[in-house]
Each structure stands twice: as structure tokens, then as C-alpha cells.
Amino acid sequence: MLRFFHQLGSPKHFYRIAGRWIPWLAAACAALMLIGLYQGMVVAPPDYQQGDSYRIMFIHVPSAWMSLFIYIVMAVAGAIGLIWHMKLAEVIAISSAPIGASFTFLALVTGSIWGKPMWGAWWVWDARLTSELILLFLYLGVMALYSAVEDKRTAARATAILAIVGVVNIPIIHYSVEWWNTLHQGPTVTKFGAPSIDLRMLIPLLVMAVAFKLFYATVVLMRARVEVLQRERNAQWVRELVDIS
């Protein structure tokens, strides 16, 4: 087991192992997503208040979960890279940022579409949406810093610090925004605060959540492979690889 992790730490083996995993992860992701979508769009009953429009939840909620989850992964991987000088952790951290930003964006768009019939406006300064918007800014900051620093190893280490600072601040920001929201608007309609969610709704939601996680795993490995190739482009094994193909 230990040897396995050690091997995974070397760029060459990571490239090989990740290449083998990607098709399986992608297939599992596609299967779960089809099941989840079918269950969510067809099997689950319409909501007694919102009718069918609530079904966007099966995209919105997992996206929102992923947006936070990926930020945490990014910070943890960044910290591992800083402390143990593990290059692979740096690669994972930096490959995660654009995916996380995309999920955050997706959560914002679906949230605003979902809110339109309920609030009558595309955008309402709802606590969750506002937090999500700030999270998007945090992601964009990480990506901007990474692209601005020329030496990519330095860039990865700098963004790791930023991601860690961000992770410490996220709970504070989240709490302050909730607080601000209750002070200014009074409690808004909570979208899925219903204490007992129908099991036929809950199952597709969880299936979709797992499918989104698999999607992230697939894409992050694909991005990380490209990043590894770019970083190691002067290494012998990369040259051999390019020669063959």
C-alpha cells in the first residue's frame, strides 16, 4: 500500500495510473448521472408548491456542494504540497481551481433560474447565492494569481497559501453573509429547508451528488495529467512518450 502511494507520487507513474483510471471513472460517472437524471426528472413526484420547476435542484444542489468541496480539496492539497513538497499535490490543487470555479458558476446560474419563478427576479441577494458569488470571486482570485506568477512552482506555492487563507475565511464569510441577510431582508423563503424530503426526491439527489464527485475526479485527473506533462516536458520519460505517439 505504502509503495503504491510512493509510486503515485512520481509524475511518471501518476501519469500511467491516472490514464488507466480515467475511463472507468468516466463510465461510472456517466451511468450514475443517467440514473440520477432519470430518477430526478421522471420518477420523482412534482413538488406540491413548486410543481416541476424544483427539478433544477438535482443540478443546483450537487453543484453547490461540489463548489465548496473542491475548494477544501484545493486548500488541503495545497497545504500538503507546501509542507511535504509533494509536487503531485500542487498539481492536483491547481488543476482543481477551474473545475471548482465552473461548479460555482453552475450553482449560481441554476440558483438564479430556480429563483426566477419563486422570487420574480433573476437575482435576489439571498444568503446562499451571495455566499456562492463570493466563493466564485475566491476561485477567480486563485486562478488569477496562478496565471500571473511566471515561475509555475512558485505560482503553485503562492496559490496554495491563498487557498488556505480562503478556507479559513470561508466560514467567517458565510456566517457574516447569513447574518447580514437576516438583518436586512428578514428570513427569505428557504429553498430546500423542508424537514422531511420525499425519499423519491432524496435518492436521485444523492445519486447526482455521487455522479458529480466522479465527474470531478475524472476531470481533475485529466487536467492533472496535462499539467504533469507540461511540467515534466524536459524529462526523459515525457520525451520517450512523445516519440512513440
Binding site: 470571486f137 482570485g141 506568477v149 487563507v165 475565511n169
Partner: protein
């Protein structure tokens, strides 16, 4: 490494930065002018109805303070980076985080403290009641050091970049949001005669947290930026 030598290094650097600022004292005016100017723009943009101004004044003054604090941030490490002093701090026998703390405290005394002096004036311009003005001062006293502390991390990350300024605002402004929320709300609540103990406790907590953690993060960021 003993405590007296730590506090001596801290005091020495604080003295140095204050002396440097004194010798370039004309530059200290700029963030202040910016603070006043931005605040003046709002009545021109949204109309001069006193009732409206009174309602939005806490937010305006705090947003202006936030921007003024951010604009002045660049000077925390810029000149030390350019003339090589920062390298000397890095290989100093004193822990970098203590030196960073001294620099940020000096920076706040130079750029943050003056905001407190003109803020009451701006309060009068926007027709804030007296209770709100005193609360405004307390929130500025508690909040602007937090801005300096958080901002220092951002500056340390961008100090080596050619166009660090724009990125700096992207990195730092989202992290300023909690301070803005608690502080502006405190001023508003004070105007409405509501209790503000909770706001002030939260701001104090942010101050304690940022003072203890930010020098470490800033020092780590500086080491990376200069490597």
C-alpha cells in the same frame, strides 16, 4: 531567541517605518484624499436627499474606507522589495513574522489611523447622527487594522508581480466582506438605537484572529514570492 530581542527587533522596525513615513509625509495625504473624494462622489451620484444619505452613509463610508485601505496597501512592502531591504528581512536572525507584524502595525498607524480623524467629518457631510458617528469611529478603530492584516497577505503574494495591483484587489476584497458587514451594520444599528455589542465583539474577534494568524501567512507568502 529571547523575548527582549524580539520586542527590540519589533520596536526597531516600527521606528524605522514611522521615520521613513515622516520623511515622506506628503505621501500620507493621498489615501485620505481618496477616502474623502470617493465619499463625496456618492451624493453626486445618488442625489442629495438627507434622509436617503443618512440611510446609506454607514455603507458608503465603510466601502470608501475599504477602498482607501486597499489602495494604500501596495506601499507596505513595495519600496522594501525594490531596494532589497525585504531580502535582508528574510535572512534576518529575527523571525520574519515579527518583522511583518511591525511593518503592518506601522502601516496601519500611517494609513489607517488618519482615516479615523477625517471620518467624523464625512459623517457630518452625510448627516449621520452623533451616536452613529461615535460608533463609526469605534468600528473603524477595530476594523481597519483587520484590513491591514488581511491585505498584507495579498501584498506579500503579489509583491514580485509587475501588475500586482489589479490582482491584489481581486485577492483581498472578498476577504474584506465580513469586516464590511459587521462594521457597517453596527453603525446602522447605532443610528436606529439598537444594541451593537454583538457587532463589536465580532469585530474584536476578527481583529484578534487576523493579528495572530496573518503575520504567519504573510511571512510564508513573502518567502515564496522572493524565492
Amino acid at each position: 531567541m529571547n523575548t527582549p530581542s524580539l520586542s527590540r527587533a519589533f520596536a526597531l522596525l516600527l521606528w524605522r517605518d514611522l521615520l521613513l513615513a515622516y520623511r515622506r509625509r506628503t505621501e500620507m495625504i493621498n489615501p485620505l484624499l481618496f477616502f474623502v473624494l470617493v465619499t463625496t462622489l456618492f451624493p453626486l451620484g445618488i442625489g442629495a436627499d438627507p434622509a436617503l444619505l443618512r440611510q446609506v452613509a454607514p455603507g458608503i463610508i465603510w466601502v470608501a474606507a475599504l477602498l482607501a485601505a486597499m489602495l494604500s496597501l501596495d506601499s507596505v512592502f513595495r519600496s522594501d522589495f525594490e531596494d532589497g531591504s525585504l531580502e535582508q528581512f528574510l535572512i534576518s536572525a529575527q523571525p520574519l513574522s515579527i518583522l511583518v507584524l511591525a511593518k503592518v502595525v506601522a502601516h496601519w498607524l500611517i494609513t489607517g489611523l488618519p482615516l479615523l480623524i477625517v471620518a467624523p467629518l464625512l459623517g457630518l457631510l452625510l448627516d449621520l447622527p452623533a451616536a452613529s458617528i461615535s460608533t463609526l469611529l469605534v468600528t473603524l478603530a477595530l476594523g481597519t487594522p483587520v484590513l491591514s492584516m488581511i491585505g498584507a497577505i495579498g501584498v506579500a503574494l503579489t509583491v514580485g508581480l509587475h501588475r500586482g495591483g489589479v490582482i491584489l484587489s481581486l485577492l483581498v476584497l472578498p476577504l474584506y466582506i465580513p469586516v464590511l458587514i459587521f462594521a457597517a451594520n453596527a453603525v446602522e444599528s447605532a443610528g436606529a438605537g439598537l444594541p451593537i455589542v454583538a457587532h463589536l465583539s465580532l469585530l474584536t474577534a476578527l481583529l484578534v484572529l487576523s493579528t495572530s494568524l496573518s503575520p504567519l501567512a504573510t511571512a510564508a507568502a513573502l518567502k515564496i514570492s522572493l524565492s
